[in-house]
């Protein structure tokens, strides 16, 4: 018998105290009002280490309610450690229904993928972000990157993409590929593969990004233009595969490469487990508790 989640009475609803939730909620509203701008917030200690989704969890905790259905994915999969533990966490502290089906979810917390199934209006996609500042590897000083954003002075980013072309013959960045939001702010889309970048553009769903260690929240409202940076003679391109998924035969999804034996035999599989199972006609298992 699966456990029926019962809210843990030792904690406030959704773990965070109400004052913290109000602070995060105000930051979220300002983030939505200024798409792509990173709003500082008073990030709290969470009961898991930085790098495991503390920012995403705080955003989810501030928005989630008993009417929601939560899906959590880690690299596209619903059944990996990070996804399972975060889903159990919210089932326990927020008494919330969980699902693995993308279309059933009202809130989807994600680490490093955007689901293949197109998102709908009313859904909220919460990204776990390790390094929110897209310019950080080019300019380590926060005071400087903040000024660059204020002045919309993004030449340094274009130069870095140009250097990549000069060195590799193409823009070699494959994940965390920088985007321009609403023609104003350059934003890190979190380490999603660049394959997912087009899904961010004018998405009907609301995108919220939470960075726990760096204590930043940013957002992309529905239907907001999100353009992947490129050059006229080196247009943005997404990954393609010569293979199809070994389980469902998909040619339009993001594929993971797996080594399956000692002789180096390889298989390609959909990264999005829900998408793959749906195509195979496999009924979802009960979400792991």
């Amino acid at each position: 018998m699966p456990d029926i989640p019962v809210q843990d009475a030792a904690y406030n609803y959704a773990y965070l105290d109400e004052q913290t939730k109000r602070m995060i909620r105000r930051a979220i509203l300002k983030a939505v009002a200024v798409p792509g701008y990173q709003v500082p917030f008073g990030g709290r200690e969470m009961p898991l280490p930085y790098g495991w989704g503390t920012g995403g969890i705080q955003v989810t905790a501030a928005i989630i309610g008993r009417d929601d259905t939560l899906k959590v994915i880690d690299q596209g999969a619903d059944d990996t450690t990070n996804a399972v533990s975060i889903r159990r966490f919210f089932a326990r502290v927020a008494d919330v229904a969980t699902t693995t089906r993308t279309e059933e979810a009202s809130v989807i917390q994600t680490r490093h993928r955007v689901p293949e199934t197109p998102l709908k209006e009313g859904q909220i996609l919460v990204f776990q972000v390790p390094i929110p500042e897209p310019l950080r590897m080019l300019e380590p000083r926060e005071t400087e990157t903040r000024t660059l954003h204020a002045l919309s002075e993004y030449g340094v980013m274009q130069v870095s993409l140009y250097e990549s072309i000069a060195r590799h013959g193409r823009i070699a960045k494959t994940y965390n590929y920088p985007v321009m939001v609403n023609e104003r702010y350059i934003m890190s889309p979190s380490p999603i593969p660049k394959f997912d970048n087009p899904k961010l553009d004018r998405s009907p769903a609301l995108q919220l990004y939470g960075a726990g260690r760096e204590k930043r929240i940013y957002a992309v409202p529905p239907y907001t233009p999100v353009k992947s940076l490129d050059f006229d003679d080196h247009p943005f391109e997404i990954e393609t595969w010569s293979e199809c998924c070994a389980l469902c035969g998909s040619r339009e999804s993001f594929l993971d490469e797996m080594i399956v034996d000692d002789t180096g035999k390889r298989l390609f599989l959909c990264s999005d487990t829900d998408w793959c199972q749906e195509r195979q006609g496999v009924l979802p298992e009960e979400p792991p508790k």
């Binding site: 406030n12 609803y13 959704a14 109400e18 004052q19 939730k21 109000r22 602070m23 909620r25 105000r26 930051a27 979220i28 509203l29 300002k30 983030a31 939505v32 009002a33 200024v34 798409p35 701008y37 709003v39 500082p40 501030a62 928005i63 989630i64 309610g65 008993r66 009417d67 903040r146 000024t147 954003h149 204020a150 002045l151 609403n182 104003r184 702010y185 004018r202 009907p204 609301l206 992309v220 409202p221 529905p222 239907y223 907001t224």
Partner: protein
């Protein structure tokens, strides 16, 4: 503005704050994510003084001791001040530039830049103005465009003058700085974030 709690009854706040404030917040978030959409605030409690229910629910959900509140004279009554102080702890301030939230009436508007508009480096440090209007979905319809709107939206907000929309154009031109506005009527809200351009 009275400085101590009065002896009259203070209007009730939320009965179940974690869940009611969560539902109200999701309504406000929907309004910000879809500017121009009329959102009905669930669980809005009876409001004190001349405040409408949506404004009261908005303040109960988002105001606290960290958010100085400025009240237009029309709303600066003992009932409202006691309600705000008792339920939220938000300091009620006389200086508009200090306010994180402000409540205004549609017919006694002030230039937006007398409130905090944020800075180029911290545009999030701007005020959010709740403007009470006679009705939403009534009055002259204007075309809104910007983030959150698929193409364009035709939005009607009653009781606003031509001057208001001129001021709004000036506020919008400050982007990414500028104030954000929430229109409130009864238990309904419409958000107008700074990024929205309005054809007037």
């Amino acid at each position: 503005m009275s400085s101590a709690l009065g002896t009259h009854d203070i209007a009730a706040g939320f009965v179940d704050p974690p869940h009611e404030s969560q539902r109200v917040f999701r309504g406000v978030l929907e309004a910000f994510a879809h500017p121009g959409r009329i959102v009905t605030v669930a669980d809005a409690p009876a409001a004190p003084g001349l405040l409408c229910r949506a404004t009261a629910a908005f303040l109960l959900t988002l105001a606290d001791r960290d958010t100085p509140l400025w009240l237009a004279p029309e709303f600066d009554s003992p009932e409202v001040c006691d309600f705000v102080r008792f339920h939220t702890g938000a300091p009620i301030v006389g200086g508009r530039a200090e306010a994180a939230f402000a409540v205004l009436a549609h017919d006694q508007l002030l230039p937006f830049d007398t409130f905090s508009i944020g800075t180029d480096t911290y545009p999030d440090r701007s005020a959010t103005l709740v403007i009470e209007v006679p009705a939403l979905g009534a009055g002259p319809a204007l075309i809104w465009r910007g983030p959150g709107i698929d193409g364009q939206a035709s939005v009607a907000v009653a009781g606003l003058s031509h001057v208001f929309w001129l001021d709004w154009a000036a506020n919008h031109s400050l982007f990414p700085c500028g104030v954000d506005v929430v229109f409130a009527a009864g238990s309904q809200l419409v958000a107008l974030p700074r990024g929205i351009a309005v054809e007037s």
